[in-house]
């Protein structure tokens, strides 16, 4: 592969991608196609990235079912589902690109389910009435991740060539550095990002790497909440580290709680929305003291509460709404499933698939039913499953820029797309804040991750082309200094000999965040949460490092991740405290209305040092930055030029797509 620049030194002039989930792998693939060699870092072998967990599917308005679906409707439903907090041009770009993305994945060999005619099959997901979700059984994320992993592996075998077409000895287009932990970026004197420092989690060596640009594709921060549906590696540590170095963090408070998961001591395991997309129904017994097993309770004695309250979208209302309803049923009404053994109404509702033909379940949902069967020890083909909400996804993340095109979408290949406020640092995937506003619709994340990668790759290639000086010509001293800084930090961790156990502190953090900073938020309670975070920060300075080993030392690494999780927890909690309204996943009973006048804006957080060991958050409404060499003023205004904000209601069928479909609807009025 001919690289687009000179490689006179006979050393490939690489860029760096951190993270090999869907977003990172797509970015890498795009970079390679543009002739840019890449160093790809990942905590785990990329094939084990968290994306592997995704179950239900990926959205694209391919409209193969004769329903009249279109990218325009996909755009509107995404924006409406996100309660109008997303900038609309990137959402338009994503919705328009979606059919092409699914076709590309199909060409890569993803075993998507098929219709009898041999076409891709689509199913329903939340927040829409259309069949828009392509799927590979109920392990879609795994299948997409593998397909992209395979494409990137192919690039691992391709030589880097110089401008004359001669292979650079020993240099392949992709060099993978797996089991490496990202510690921070390296900035030159002007503040431009020119590389990273990372730690080899086998040998514990700390090393600085040069990269003409760096893209963080490091996923979400679910583990800040202790247990969630996320993989245990999702501590958000990389995003926190970049934030500590000056990257803007946007809409941190917008955390999605998924309505249907199975509780567990180590993890809350998801039962995908696709269960409801295929006809699964949520209910509780009408008699709150009903002692019978779920399957023995007759139809007329069941309360299908979502269907009753939201006849338009029923069990497929967006997640924020479903989670609030489930929570209220269990916590406020005490009508969760009764457990004769404990003589209590448990925090559980039924998710019932038992009326769906077994053959259909086997072909379309086996993956999740297997999870239920294994982890609960009950047969979901015969028994209604028992589920409860769990923290699932972060709409918020690193702030990223975009360049708007004439038609209202994105200019493909603009170096501004997916760029953070630190020149040369990009972000893509769940780690960015860009596509979902205040609530993400199901099956839009796999899409946004891949789409962000499709934008980030060309953006970085363009940025690199426009560079006056390569990171590979920056003096070595810059890298030595950064390496030394991180090495000293690590030595300090190894020397910590206090009495706190970092894993126990994390458990405390998770319990507080989960209880007080999720579905319902209250300012007085949030005040206490923030106080607790401060105390935990103090105590975290007093941990005893659990492990001083010089090989694969996970204990010392966890001390570092804990400190970064505390920083993100503060961003989340303080953002929640500040936003006095209810919008999407952010709900305050004391401020039930959405308040567009005051809060139709992005929360922008900058890191500051607080007192002693504590961090502090500075919220800004605007900020000057250099992006791709140009001065830009970042503001918190939301671009709503494509779909005018209106009240968000799911009682009536079609309300979410009324503007695009032209359906007359009473809720076209602007809110408040």
């Amino acid at each position: 592969m001919k690289t687009s620049d000179k490689n006179e030194s006979r050393v490939a002039r690489r860029v760096i991608v951190v993270g090999g989930g869907l977003a990172g792998l797509t970015t890498v693939m795009k970079l390679c196609e543009a002739g840019v060699p890449v160093d790809l870092f990942s905590l785990v072998p990329v094939k084990r990235s968290h994306s592997v967990c995704a179950q239900g599917g990926i959205n694209a308005s391919v409209n193969t079912k004769g329903e009249g679906d279109s990218p325009r409707i996909h755009l509107e439903e995404t924006v409406y589902g996100g309660d109008f907090l997303a900038n609309q041009p990137p959402v338009k770009g994503m919705a328009d690109a979606a059919p092409g993305i699914v076709f590309m994945l199909d060409r890569m060999g993803v075993p998507f389910n098929r219709t009898p005619e041999g076409l891709l099959d689509f199913r329903r997901f939340g927040g829409t009435l259309f069949h828009r979700t392509a799927f590979a059984g109920a392990t879609t994320g795994q299948q997409l991740l593998y397909a992209l992993d395979e494409q990137v592996r192919r690039w691992e075998t391709v030589d880097v060539e110089d401008s004359k077409g001669a292979a650079l000895r020993g240099e392949k287009m992709v060099r993978k550095l797996e089991h490496w932990d990202f510690l921070g970026i390296v900035q030159d004197d002007a503040g431009r990002c020119v590389g990273i420092v990372a730690q080899d989690m086998k040998t514990m060596a700390i090393e600085a790497f040069r990269g003409d640009a760096v893209c963080l594709a490091t996923g979400g921060p679910g583990i800040v909440f202790g247990r969630s549906t996320n993989s245990v590696i999702n501590t958000g540590t990389a995003a926190a580290a970049a934030y500590r170095q000056g990257a803007l963090y946007a809409n941190g408070e917008l955390i999605q709680v998924h309505p249907t998961a199975i509780p567990g001591a180590d993890k809350l395991r998801l039962i995908s929305e696709s269960a409801r997309g295929e006809g699964g129904r949520v209910w509780v017994p009408k008699d709150p003291k009903d002692k019978r097993k779920g399957r023995e309770i007759p139809e007329r004695e069941r309360d299908y509460f979502l269907e009753a309250k939201y006849p338009g979208y029923g069990n497929l209302v967006p997640r924020d709404i479903a989670s609030r309803e489930l929570f209220a049923k269990c916590f406020h009404d005490k009508r969760g499933v009764y457990n004769p053994k404990t003589e209590k109404n448990e925090n559980e509702v039924y998710l019932d698939l038992t009326r769906i033909p077994k053959e259909t379940l086997r072909k379309k949902l086996a993956g999740i039913l297997e999870i239920y069967e294994k982890f609960v020890g009950e047969d979901p083909y015969e028994n209604p499953m028992r589920v409860f909400p769990a923290v699932h996804y972060s709409m918020g993340g690193l702030w990223v820029d975009f360049e708007k095109s004439a038609d209202g979408g994105l200019v493909r290949g603009s170096p501004r797309n997916q760029a953070t406020n630190i020149d040369g640092l990009y972000a893509a995937g769940e780690v960015d804040y860009q596509y979902h506003g205040a609530n993400r619709l199901g099956a839009n994340s796999l899409l946004s991750c891949i789409y962000a990668g499709l934008e980030a790759g060309p953006a970085i290639a363009a940025y690199r082309k426009g560079l006056a000086a390569s990171a590979h010509d920056v003096p070595q001293s810059v890298f030595d200094k950064a390496e030394k800084r991180e090495a000293e930090r690590y030595q300090k961790i190894l020397a910590m000999d206090g009495d706190e156990n970092p894993y126990a502190l994390h458990k405390e953090l998770g319990e507080v965040m989960l209880r007080d900073c999720t579905i319902e938020r209250d300012n007085a309670v949030l005040g206490k949460v923030i106080e607790t975070i401060g105390e935990l920060e103090d105590r975290a300075k007093n941990v005893g490092v659990p492990d001083t080993g010089d090989h694969a030392n996970h204990g010392a690494q966890f001390v570092r991740h804990l400190s970064n999780m505390l920083v993100l927890a503060r961003v989340i909690a303080e953002g929640a405290l500040a936003r006095d309204e209810s919008r999407g996943a952010h709900y305050k009973p004391a401020f039930k209305q959405r308040d567009d006048e005051r809060w139709l804006r992005t929360t922008l957080a900058l890191y500051e040092r607080g007192e002693g060991a504590r961090s502090s958050v500075k919220f800004v409404r605007q900020l000057d930055a250099t992006i791709a060499g140009k001065s830009v003023t970042i503001t918190d205004a939301v671009d709503t030029t494509l779909v005018t904000p209106r009240a968000r209601k799911y009682e009536t069928a079609g309300a979410a797509s009324a503007a695009a479909t032209g359906a007359s609807s009473a809720d076209k009025q602007p809110s408040t």
């Binding site: 060409r107 890569m108 098929r114 395979e150 993989s231 001591a265 180590d266 894993y503 204990g555």
Partner: protein
Amino acid sequence: MSTTRTVRLKILRQDSPSKPQTKRWEEFEVPWLPQMNVISALMEIQRSPKTTDGKTVAPVVWESSCLEEVCGACTMIVNGRVRQACTAFVDRLGGGETITLEPMTKFPLVRDLVVDRSRMFDDLKQVKAWIDLDGSHELGPGPRQSPANQEEAYPLSRCMTCGCCLEACPQVHESSPFVGPAAINQVRLFNLHPSGKMHATERLESLMGEGGVADCGKAQNCVEVCPKEIPLVDSIAQVSRQVTKHMLFGWLLK
């Protein structure tokens, strides 16, 4: 009912590959939890890393990520059987007895329960386990495929590269170059795909020499241990037939 239930674990540990002298068994006792799996037990040890003889030690090191048996990371030997620790439930492991945990033996040790499985990813390069895409730009939909084709391919594509099949295979050992069932199964998968087929011979040739499909000893342990119930023996048989056919008649078709 007053005494709290506990779970005992006996774990084979070693600090690093270069320190074989640190190889040792350590025993731990942790509080029992409902629906407890081996991972939750290991997490309890992290929060209070003390052996049963009262010694404070470094927490046990293991690899894990998804905790729902889809990433393959937490594979280890539990009570003598190779499997994922996340789906190894304490109550279903023969209640009351001490649970033993050991690292897999067919891969280089990293530390404690962590081994280095990178050879499995390298093998995927050798067998060219990918579709030769012209590029990721828009070229319209992929080839049409029958539901039956999808239903054959999908189970094969659920391989998590966890290494159970290699661990259980008697033909895979230090002095053998045998590539093992996982990579052979990938060849079947890609040779089944309408565009993947176009490069079937390259994949078959990568399995023809030493360490290739002919090295399978037909012990059939692989299917026994595969957590995703991938029909590995079928895959090996099919690929083996494809290879034989290619060896006999391939030159005729060239």
